[in-house]
Point group: C2
Chain length 390, copies 2
């Protein structure tokens, strides 16, 4: 289903010979058939942002995008003027095919940093993808496969509102995942009748509460892109609150799927910090715990090591998150193994067999809370990232 679940969108995913994996689908095309072409976008804050990010950020700024072309097999990052020319040439090709201006075409790339793309393959692939465009579930699924890199499965979302308008979406991302954003490309489509301004506001909030609160490995990518496109094909103007809620729900679902497919992960770890003096304080504590390699290793060994949780909490400066270390409690999978900053119930009581691990930290300092997600750190993560060609 993916991006074609919303009316007014066609998609394709084809093998264009960009990826080093023979025959892998590596080029996706998503076309907004209207009547609207409203768009919003959120991009990486990495200062070495890739050529396609530079291109797309500029084109999305006016709130109009007619088509998005995405490739795996190469990030086109740190490629200078030549890389930017490749993104532009790709947009020009798609524009000619679908009958629009290059300025209404967004470009997304993911893969190795520092190398130019095989442009001939990209341009020929764009033609193949254009011919394969369809509004079918299969075409949406093909697109979601074509953007995968170290992902082991496609990640999609489909939501239907109370009065018939829809949201569809796809994301790729598995490693180099950290706030802000992640090594991820995400396209969300809707057939609601909405303005670009309304979409940008909804997307900013949704991203802040989803993609910006997951952390696989603390590494921020050069290529992160989240696009939201509206066709208006349902003819329905959504209730504003419901629109915001469903965009947020779509992002949350896709972000959760990224954690579920984190490189080499054997546990998905949900860290909820309550009792904080502010949401920022709760978030800072959650992120500090999520970033602990020692804790992530312990979880991969099925050890609910609360010492590694509190020692990470202890690195957050008091001015960022005021709390009294002797009042902190930590529950892992519902067992309070740390009470008043010291040992609580025996950690042997904790059942670590489920894939999902819940760490609930109560700072007992206020009423604010926040949740972040991370993965455990496994032999397989090291294997993937020691042996993945740069």
């Amino acid at each position: 289903m993916s991006v074609t679940f919303a009316q007014g969108f066609s998609a394709a995913g084809v093998a264009a010979g960009i990826s080093s994996v023979e025959g892998k689908k590596d080029l996706a095309l998503v076309v907004n058939n209207g009547p609207l072409d409203a768009a919003a976008g959120v991009f990486t804050s990495n200062r070495f942002c890739a050529a396609p990010v530079q291109w797309s950020r500029k084109q999305v700024a006016d709130g109009h995008v007619k088509a998005v072309i995405l490739n795996s097999g190469g990030a086109n990052a740190c490629t200078g003027v030549a890389g930017y020319a490749q993104s532009r040439a790709t947009a020009e090709k798609v524009a000619a095919l679908v009958g629009t201006e290059p300025e209404d075409v967004a470009v997304c790339s993911t893969g190795l940093i520092g190398e130019l793309l095989p442009l001939d393959n990209v341009l020929a692939g764009a033609e193949t993808a254009y011919r394969a465009l369809a509004a079918t579930p299969e075409a949406g699924a093909d697109a979601s496969h074509a953007i995968m890199t170290t992902d082991t499965k496609p990640k999609t979302v489909e939501l239907e509102s109370s009065n018939g308008w829809r949201i569809g979406g796809m994301v790729k991302g598995s490693g180099m995942i950290a706030p802000q954003l992640a090594t991820m490309l995400c396209v969300i489509t809707t057939d609601a009748v909405v303005t670009a301004g309304q979409m940008q506001a909804a997307l900013a909030v949704a991203t802040e509460h989803s993609f910006n609160r997951i952390d696989v490995d603390g590494c921020m990518s050069t290529n992160d892109t989240v696009l939201l496109l509206a066709s208006g094909a349902s003819g329905v103007e959504p209730d504003k609150d419901e629109f915001n809620r469903l965009v947020r729900q779509a992002c949350a679902s896709l972000a959760r799927q990224i954690i579920g497919d984190g490189e080499g992960a054997s546990h998905d770890i949900r860290i909820t910090v309550t009792g904080a003096t502010s949401e920022d304080a709760a978030l800072a504590c959650g992120r500090a715990v999520a970033a602990s390699n020692l804790l992530k290793c312990a979880i991969s060994g099925n050890d609910p090591n609360w010492g590694r949780i509190v020692s990470s909490l202890g690195t957050v400066p008091p001015e960022v998150a005021p709390y009294d270390s002797e009042k902190v409690t930590v529950d892992v999978n519902g067992v309070r193994i740390c009470e008043n900053g010291g040992a609580g119930r025996d950690r042997s009581e904790v059942d670590m067999t489920p894939r999902e691990v819940h760490i609930d930290i109560d700072l007992n300092a206020g009423d604010a809370e926040a949740t972040v997600w991370t993965d455990d750190l496994t032999h397989e993560y090291v294997h993937i990232n020691a042996d993945y060609e740069s």
Copy 2:
């Protein structure tokens, strides 16, 4: 040699039955026989600091320490009032043995967080250690062995000044190593005639440029302690600059040895950032690169992955480190594989066989520089930390 290299110090290292490893030396005692008992200390900034840190920080504050007792096999961290009482009881025992006040005894512990120590074993071990005290190289070596946990080798330093006064030292630390400080216990001794104030100033600068610039795994400990003790036994008042320089050199040597023994590490990575607008800017960039799990995995796979270097650099906010991403160069082991923010010479030219890997980053934005050290991230690191009992 270790701490007994300086005149006026005796030491011992004994097996006291604290460690879960049968027969392992796990208790060290260092006694300052004077005539001076001047002392300085630097401690973890972790808010969950351990009971021995709370005790020792208070006792060192007046600039006098007569003896230090250190144990491996248990951190006595997150152990509340009962843990603090253990540190106090340990200090009282040592004070009675060596004939001083408990307030002149520092206590250091390392090992598992969240459990009380077997106090009877600690107190009996203190007696054994007291009887074994000697000013010999062997006694110093025993002490340096007794503080080891996941360390694979003892780490010591011996320096002699131009006019005969000496510095000796020992450190333990292998994992949970990150600025500020590391999971490390360090005792440095000198027979120079110096004041506590002079020592504190020298130690603060030396720590900032050594232990605070190494990062094995981004995890800050609850127990980090660096102590500097002066006996004055040489009778020599050192040149102030030489004293500062040798303290700094001792800390640098011990910090470098920690990196050389980082948990599971197969490469020691030196990251030098030059051309920064300030030392703080250079340091922020160096630390961002040192913290990248993706880069550390790549290095363990002998891949000089400059994309992962610049994408880490790109996460440092412009207000912290102003630079133009298109002017950045990166050399790995002397080969400029990134030029003007893009691909430079082919990475196949880089010889990755040496254990020591040099990453030289030129921001081309100013004249300041800084160096940080880290280790690569290996299967063995995950193994150690997934299977090490909490």
